[in-house]
């Protein structure tokens, strides 16, 4: 059956032979696959297509894309290797998985970079066609690892994917370069066969993506199908075959895949609608935050105005100006951008304007590791401003949660007339997970009201409960007033150099933020006993790894609980009391110890840091080991 026939079969919904063999498949509970290849090999696309079809199969899943750094490297080098890991299972998944069960290596460099992570006994799929002497040298291999003992510990499937792809797309008369571009689809086809995924969504996606060059679409589809048929028909080494991972029992509902930056963007839009405001986003591109700017730029019909500014300072400056004029000012960035926004953030604090700053954290310090993840902006977010300059800081734990925390950021910013920093990170930003779509219409709205009554108006009059000042926007007759960065008199907002006034205003600003603690959920224990030996306290994207590790440890009979902080400043009222119920407190973070500093200072608990600063998420096994060690101590 030629490529076109295959495609036809798919399009008419006719079963392929593979589908008929479904029952022969070995059943697995969970699988971790890592696709790795050159930046130009399209591994991110391959991964996300595999993800989409996996989601459609009803598995739970989590993904971890691992881009090369912000450079485009010459083909074949180790620093140009791009990876995409997916973990999917028949039960609910919490992390993208520690070590892959299956590694797909499209060239020697990909093998070199990723082999150490592959589980012993795991399956390695290699494209032998790329193991040329030139590529081996670029990857730093002096011997061909396919020939020596390098791969002894693994099950290896050697396929000349390059050649097979060229054959599959021959009918389409592409140049060799273009033809070879289809090899990721060939590989995807093979992996889809291996794990019994449907190709339909990918075919649909290819048709859309290459709508303007149907030949390219056809060639890619042919390659996809050829890879699939290869799986069905080729003789596989013993122990390698088709696998089945049955559906996970997810909570019923309507699902989609979502990554953190999408979720944040949409959450901001939802939040603004709930507040009855237009969004003004001032932003300057920076990895890994740029896609928030991109996503919101595509939502102009939602009343979202996006402004790509000349730098981060201008971005936040414009957002503050827009907030003052009655929009919801938002600015999105990453660590170095937050650094630049520091001074202006202070202005927003002292003028008491609503503002949401999204910090998608990346590896630091300085330019650091722009494409890697880290949680090392926490102290900067909480403390990094001149003067006593308090604001609210919250953090999302999962990609899907970014949506809700973005809404929460909008709610707090508008209700308390304050900047709110929402912390996410590179892993959340790019990591996808199946997400039960909420009904925004069911979320309680929190409409803002601008001040319009000139009677007794003072710009710094406050709501006695929230301590928020009233929001009087330019254009309103009778409320003309002046604000600025100098200290202002308690009510009138006029400049005041009065010592007592400054003391009082500092205390009021602090009290306003501290008061938010009454308006947020009490801290809950995610898992484990409500008192006992050890509590593991996390925040942000480490959620999955910690939850998984605690779950496993609990199953192993250990006394360990998981607490995950989402409100970093102010913290939930009961947090200190809660932590004191455990003998030991362990704080794993993707930094050199930040939350742990705050907890110790705030609650005087002898919390211990577990820092990983490798630009990568925790492995579950690392956390399990740490839990054991701390329980044994």
């Amino acid at each position: 059956m030629g490529a076109l026939a295959y495609e036809k079969a798919l399009e008419t919904g006719m079963d392929t032979p593979a589908a008929r063999q479904e029952t022969d498949r070995e059943a697995l509970d969970s699988v971790v696959i890592r696709f790795a290849g050159d930046s130009g090999d399209g591994m991110q696309l391959t991964g996300s297509q595999f993800t989409d079809s996996t989601a459609l199969m009803g598995n739970d899943l989590a993904t971890f894309p691992d881009f090369p750094a912000e450079i485009r490297a010459p083909a074949g080098t180790t620093f140009g290797v791009s990876g995409f890991q997916i973990h999917f299972a028949s039960y609910d998944i919490l992390t993208p998985g520690d070590a892959p069960d299956v590694l797909v290596a499209m060239n020697p460099a990909a093998l070199k970079v990723n082999l150490a992570d592959l589980k012993r006994g795991g399956l390695l799929v290699v494209n032998t066609g790329a193991f040329t002497p030139g590529n081996l040298k670029k990857a730093g291999y002096s011997n061909d690892p396919l020939e020596d003992s390098t791969l002894d510990a693994f099950r290896v499937l050697k396929i000349d994917i390059s050649k097979l792809t060229l054959q599959a797309v021959e009918p389409f008369d592409l140049g060799t370069k273009e033809a070879l571009r289809c090899k990721n689809m060939w590989t995807l086809g093979l992996m889809m066969w291996m794990f019994g995924r449907e190709r339909e969504s990918t075919v649909h996606w290819l048709r859309g993506k290459f709508a303007k060059s149907p030949v390219i679409a056809d060639a890619n589809i042919a390659a996809l199908n050829a890879g699939h048929i290869y799986g069905e028909t080729a003789e596989m080494p013993s122990g390698i075959g088709g696998y089945a991972v049955s559906k996970a029992s997810l909570a019923p509902g309507h699902y989609r895949n979502i990554n953190g930056n999408e979720a944040t963007s949409w959450g901001l839009v939802a939040g603004a609608q709930l507040a009855g405001l237009k969004i003004f986003l001032g932003s300057y591109p920076i990895t890994p935050a740029s896609t928030i700017l991109h996503t919101l730029s595509g939502l102009k019909n939602f009343g979202v105005v996006t402004f790509q500014a000349e730098d981060e300072i201008a971005a936040i400056g414009a957002a503050i100006g827009a907030s003052w004029a009655g929009s919801l000012g938002v600015t999105s960035t990453s660590g170095p951008g937050v650094a630049l926004k520091t001074e202006a953030l202070g202005l927003a604090v002292v003028t008491e304007l609503p503002l949401v700053l999204v910090d998608v954290q990346r590896g630091g310090p300085s330019t650091g590791l722009p494409t890697k993840t880290e949680q090392s902006d926490l102290l900067q977010a909480v403390y990094g401003r001149n003067g006593d300059c308090p604001l609210a800081v919250i953090a999302a734990a999962t990609p899907g949660e970014c949506f809700f925390m973005a809404i929460e950021a909008v709610r707090l910013a508008t209700k308390y007339m304050t900047p709110v920093i929402l912390l996410t990170d590179g892993a959340l930003a790019n990591g996808a997970e199946p997400w039960r779509i909420p009904n925004v219409s069911e979320i309680a709205p929190f409409p803002v009201t601008y001040r319009t009554d000139p009677e007794g108006f003072h710009p710094f009059h406050r709501d006695p409960e929230t301590l928020a000042r009233n929001w009087a926007i330019p254009g309103t007759p009778g409320l003309e007033h002046r604000i600025g960065g100098l200290e202002k008199a308690k009510n009138s907002g006029n400049i005041s150099y009065d010592p007592d006034n400054h003391h009082q205003m500092t205390k009021i600003r602090a009290a306003k933020i501290a008061g938010i603690a009454d308006d947020i959920p009490l801290q809950e224990v995610e898992a484990g006993p409500s008192e006992g030996e050890l509590v593991v306290v996390g925040w942000g994207s480490t959620y999955g790894s910690i939850a998984q590790a605690v779950r496993t440890s609990l199953r192993a009979g250990l006394s360990v609980a998981h607490v995950h902080v989402r409100y970093m400043s102010p913290m939930p009222r009961n947090l200190g009391e809660l932590l004191r119920r455990y003998k030991k407190v362990l704080v794993p973070e993707l930094n050199n110890g930040m939350l742990v500093k705050i907890l110790r200072g705030e609650y005087l608990v002898d919390a211990q840091a577990l820092g990983k600063i490798a630009g990568q998420p925790f492995k579950v096994a690392e956390l399990e080991a740490a839990i054991r060690t701390h329980l044994e101590r």
Binding site: G253, A319, E343, R482, G484
Partner: protein, 346 residues
């Protein structure tokens, strides 16, 4: 009269705030404030629709004295806040107030991009060639050799010419006036306000405390006539006590020279006629300074405002998207693309 009364004819008083003015006695800022307060009522824009946004500096205290909305922001960043305000509410009449330090030192980049983007607002740059507020350090417009606390042996960097800078940035309206010129300043305020796009005004402002007489070589009564060239579109560039000195293009070369009508066979027809739509001419004029040449005052450049302003173009896209796609439905957005149902039994 309560502030909600129907708009009646506005007067100077409508623009005077209750705050005491806190500049040094004799500061040129007073004259500029007064010119603005006297001229604004003409425009018929009500105080509540008017916004003054400044950075930090003596000049940047300006908004406190205007009975309009005002934002005294941080050093150098006024253009950024102004951009946000204008994009959030394009109906507002926005004025940016800045100084030679605020706008050209720390804030140079924002001014550059503001001018390039061409929002419909006005910028007044108070150029006193000094940092007033921080007690007299030299600024990017200070002349070479300026002795200040930070340059006890004299400054060594060549000064920036604000008008030339504005033109280089793509500024579309560039004008100049002298703080105490009660006739010339209102004219450029008016023209800048009329202009659809960013109206940039450089005001030569005397700081009697730290840089007294910085512009005396052309503002002093005795020399004014011979050193000031008041530009008028379509009019020959004549100056001098007798109005007989003029500028002309040195034949065949791209250079200006001073001629005297009636001497060496020169007639008024030889004198260059000011064309405020000619950017190259504006660039030439911007760089003239006494003693060699008169200083060019008034509207140096006003590009025909054919291009839509930034806010009109940008917000136009929102309107267009709305018209085409309908008002965004968040629930639909969340369900866009691949989605699937997990049933209770699943």
């Amino acid at each position: 009269m309560t502030p909600l009364d129907p708009p009646s004819k506005l007067t100077r008083k409508d623009f005077v705030s209750d705050q005491e003015v806190r500049w040094c006695p004799g500061c040129g800022d007073y004259a500029i404030l007064s010119a603005v307060q006297r001229t604004l009522p003409e425009f018929g824009v009500r105080p509540e629709k008017t916004v003054f946004i400044s950075g930090i500096g003596c000049s940047s205290r300006f908004p406190y004295y205007m009975n309009t909305y005002g934002f005294h922001t941080i050093h150098g960043r006024a253009p950024t806040l102004a951009t946000g305000v204008k994009l959030a509410n394009p109906d507002l009449d926005v004025w940016v107030i800045t100084g030679d330090g605020d706008g050209l030192s720390i804030g140079g980049n924002h001014l550059l991009h503001l001018l390039r983007r061409n929002l419909n607002l006005q910028v007044i740059l108070f150029n006193n060639r000094i940092y007033g507020l921080t007690k007299g350090q030299y600024s990017p417009t200070s002349l070479i050799g300026k002795r200040t606390p930070s340059t006890p042996m004299g400054s060594v960097d060549p000064p920036l010419t604000p008008a030339a800078f504005a033109l280089g940035c793509g500024g579309r309206f560039v004008a100049r006036a002298i703080d105490v010129d009660a006739k010339g300043l209102p004219i450029v305020l008016r023209r800048a306000h009329q202009y659809v796009g960013t109206g940039f005004i450089e005001a030569f402002q005397n700081c009697p405390v730290f840089n007294d007489g910085a512009f005396e070589h052309f503002t002093a009564k005795e020399v004014a006539a011979e050193t000031q060239l008041h530009l008028e579109h379509g009019k020959p560039m004549l100056f001098g006590a007798k109005g007989d000195r003029g500028l002309r293009l040195r034949p065949g070369v791209l250079e200006l020279e001073i001629v005297t009508v009636g001497e060496d066979g020169i007639t008024e027809a030889d004198v260059l006629v000011h064309d405020e739509t000619n950017r190259a001419m504006a660039f030439l004029l911007a760089s003239l300074e006494p003693p060699t040449f008169p200083i060019a005052l008034g509207v140096l450049y006003a590009a025909p405002s054919t291009a839509p302003t930034f806010e009109v173009a940008l917000l136009g896209q929102n309107a267009q998207a709305l018209a085409k796609q309908g008002a965004g439905d968040i629930d639909a957005l969340l369900r866009k693309g691949h989605t699937w149902e997990v049933s209770a039994g699943g």
